[in-house]
């Protein structure tokens, strides 16, 4: 039996993994390609849809990936997903390493509960849904190299242990119990499409059991709740007993979504459900408490242009940190009080005027895309000068580092005696932080950017740069 399914699946996984690497680390510079990359990811696209942000024409890709389980099972999970790829590799590694047979657990959290949890979090503007999204966790791994922070490292280490260590006892646990994209795929999957089935030719050798990445096969039966349609089992059977079965042929084994709910509850199943529900409510309650506590601290954060406001930002940001990876100046950093959503840090860097990288990579459109000339007029904060510490104001010395770096013409220099003092014209200030970054006063800069609660539009610098009187003269004489 030529193992062409396994080989092609592996090749596709590797190729898509490399594509994801490029998209998530911003090695890919073309915005359109990054949009295509983002459209493959169901949950982040879903978050943007909940906020009525639809990306045409790439939404077609998202819809295809989302509804393909109707006919083809969890195709994305089996053939593309980079997180799945990592788990599959880890599982193969553990199988080789462990002489004992891998234990198997059949219980997993019903997809509908995962789905309800995430919708609840999104609707309430709680950014925790980002912690369970698979692709956001994947992006975070690389962002931690770009900007190191200890809490971030903690989150990445926890995630990697789920992905690389947990497969030892329960492969693809993340995919079946936590991943919101996976939950959505399972809800769509009616289990009536193309899938493998074991025929009577089977001689119970058990080779298919260990080849299955989710251990869905047990004692000659396939658990279709766990089956991802990767088709590795078909290749592994020496008798070719497992074959692809085509749509709408009834099965004896396998349960569809409806039958789970309609089946009468047995006592142990009911207890399981009650236990889950209680834990669920407890988790949500504590989340709310923590959020209220942190909410006030987060209001002082400055968020990138395109986010519109800190509130809107929190409702959409999954903390994937693709913006942090793409930022050329490194001004975007994970905010601890914002639960690892990004914020601007003007003491270590500034927002480059000629750049709209973060607007181009956000998968949930928490940072909406605007062309560069529009972005240049979005005001995310206003600069304020502390006259008690600003050098020209307190002494007789010239400085003007702020005016020098301001790209939008917001800092005017007014003559006071022999020196010039800076005065801010707020109409032109876009809150980019170039002034704060350049200010030589330490430890607290004499010019600070205060966040705009709701982003506004600044005056165009053209207002300060009209045509000059002798601008059209062709020839000039030497003035000496």
């Amino acid at each position: 039996m030529n193992k062409w399914h396994k080989k092609y699946r592996l090749i596709l996984q590797i190729l898509f993994f490399l594509f994801c690497l490029g998209g998530t680390t911003s090695l890919i510079k073309y915005r359109e390609v990054v949009e295509i990359y983002n459209s493959f990811h169901i949950f982040t696209s879903f978050v943007s849809w909940m906020n009525l942000s639809f990306t045409f024409p790439y939404i077609i890709i998202t819809l295809f990936v989302l509804f393909s389980p109707l006919l083809l099972g969890r195709l994305y999970c089996a053939f593309l997903c980079p997180v799945g790829f990592l788990q599959d590799i880890a599982f193969k590694f553990w199988v080789r390493l462990s002489r004992r047979k891998i234990r198997r657990s059949n219980k997993h959290i019903p997809s509908i509960l995962i789905f309800i949890l995430t919708v609840f979090l999104i609707l309430n503007g709680l950014p925790y849904f980002g912690y369970i999204d698979h692709i956001s966790n994947f992006s975070r791994i690389f962002a931690v190299f770009k900007h190191f922070s200890l809490p971030m490292l903690g989150v990445v280490v926890v995630f990697l242990s789920f992905i690389l260590i947990l497969p030892r006892i329960y492969p693809r646990w993340f995919c079946l119990n936590l991943c919101p994209s996976g939950a959505m795929f399972s809800l769509v999957d009616e289990k009536k499409g193309v899938r493998p089935a074991i025929s009577k030719v089977c001689n119970s050798c058990g080779k298919c059991e260990l080849s299955c990445p989710t251990l869905a096969i047990k004692k000659g039966e396939i658990d279709y709740n766990k089956c991802l349609n990767c088709l590795d089992c078909i290749d592994s059977c020496p008798k070719e007993a497992i074959q692809l079965v085509f749509p709408f042929r009834p099965f004896k084994k396998g349960a569809g979504f409806l039958s789970v709910l309609s089946a009468p509850f047995r006592t142990d199943r009911r207890n399981f459900f009650v236990g889950m529900a209680t834990g669920f409510v407890a988790v949500l309650g504590s989340i709310e408490a923590v959020t209220v506590f942190l909410g006030s601290k987060v209001k002082a954060s400055i968020v990138p242009p395109g986010a519109n406001s800190i509130k809107d930002f929190w409702v959409k940001c999954t903390g994937c940190h693709q913006c942090i990876s793409s930022c050329p100046t490194g001004v975007l950093v994970p905010s601890v009080e914002g639960l690892l959503t990004p914020k601007m840090n003007y003491d270590s860097s500034y927002c480059e005027y000629e750049c709209n990288a973060c607007l181009s990579v956000c998968p949930t459109k928490a940072i909406s895309y605007y062309p560069l000339d529009v972005k240049k007029q979005i005001s995310i904060g206003k600069a304020k000068i502390d006259k008690e510490t600003c050098i020209p104001y307190i002494g007789d010395k010239d400085c003007a580092a702020c005016a020098e770096h301001c790209p939008s013409g917001a800092v005017d220099m007014h003559k006071e005696g022999d020196i010039y003092v800076p005065v801010i014209d707020e109409h032109f200030c876009i809150g980019c932080g170039a002034c704060q970054y350049a200010c030589p006063v330490d430890p607290v800069r004499a010019i600070q950017v205060i966040p705009e609660e709701i982003h506004s539009i600044a005056y165009s610098p053209r207002k300060k740069s009209q045509k000059q009187k002798n601008g059209d003269i062709e020839e000039h004489e030497f003035p000496f």
Partner: protein, 313 residues
Amino acid sequence: MQKERREFFKTVAKVFSLGLLLPFENLFAKTKRKISLPKKKRDWDLVAVKGGSPAEMFVSGINAMGGMENFVKKGQTVLIKPNIGWNRPPMAGANTNPDLVGKIIELAYKSGAKRVEVFDHTCNEEIECYRNSGIEKVCRSKGAVLLPASDEKYYRKIKIPGAKIVKDALVHKSYLEADVVINVPILKQHSGARMTAAIKNYMGIVWDRRYWHRHGLMEAISEFGLIEKKPALNVVDAYFVMTRNGPRGLTSNDLIQKKMLLLSKDIVLVDTASAKVLGVSPKEIPYLKMAENLGLGTMDLKKSKIRKISIRS
């Protein structure tokens, strides 16, 4: 009768031959000097060129200064220090014109330079500045080495003799190790320093600029000129002059196309001339007078030998 004529002619011949001994040549010498072209070029204090492209004006200007061979000898390492401070395209007049830099690189190699280096400690992100200014492209095509400057490891601490504010500074190794330095700033109005030209261009070779802003910008700019190693030549790009909203500029309306180029070995003199081109009185720029007082050069344009060249009349 014939004997007397012979005697007369002999006397005339004697007088004539005696006359030949007289220094008649001296009587005609002055006229000779007037009509003959000088074999050696005059040593100009300032050469001002106008009317051509930046590269054309440099060729003309450096010729008047005695040719590039006057500054670059065979086998030397040359540092060309332009202004690449800002992430702006060439037509924005915020950075030195890349064609000018390219021509200087070309002529340096022609004069026998072994290695030509270019760098600037930029204000915006180095990669963006180097690329969008057009300098990276021209360095690659002309074979100059574009050096990184955005890490402290490229700098070495040196003392500035006689300075009170900038007693020592971390200066880029390329500046300290090059055999010849050619300072190539662009002339602009400056919100803090009033004007940026040759002296202000020194700011791009140090690691910590904020120190200068913190402890007295004008004093620091002038004092740093006391650095032992000085540029052999200053070339001020005044093709597009940013006359307001400098040093970054808001739109192209901030520029006046002056089509000029100023060359001088005297950094204070060339800045004084630059101030006039900018349309500002040199007295209004505090660091100029301070620099003159420190002995870095002269502001006296009237007493200087200025060569004015107009390329297209």
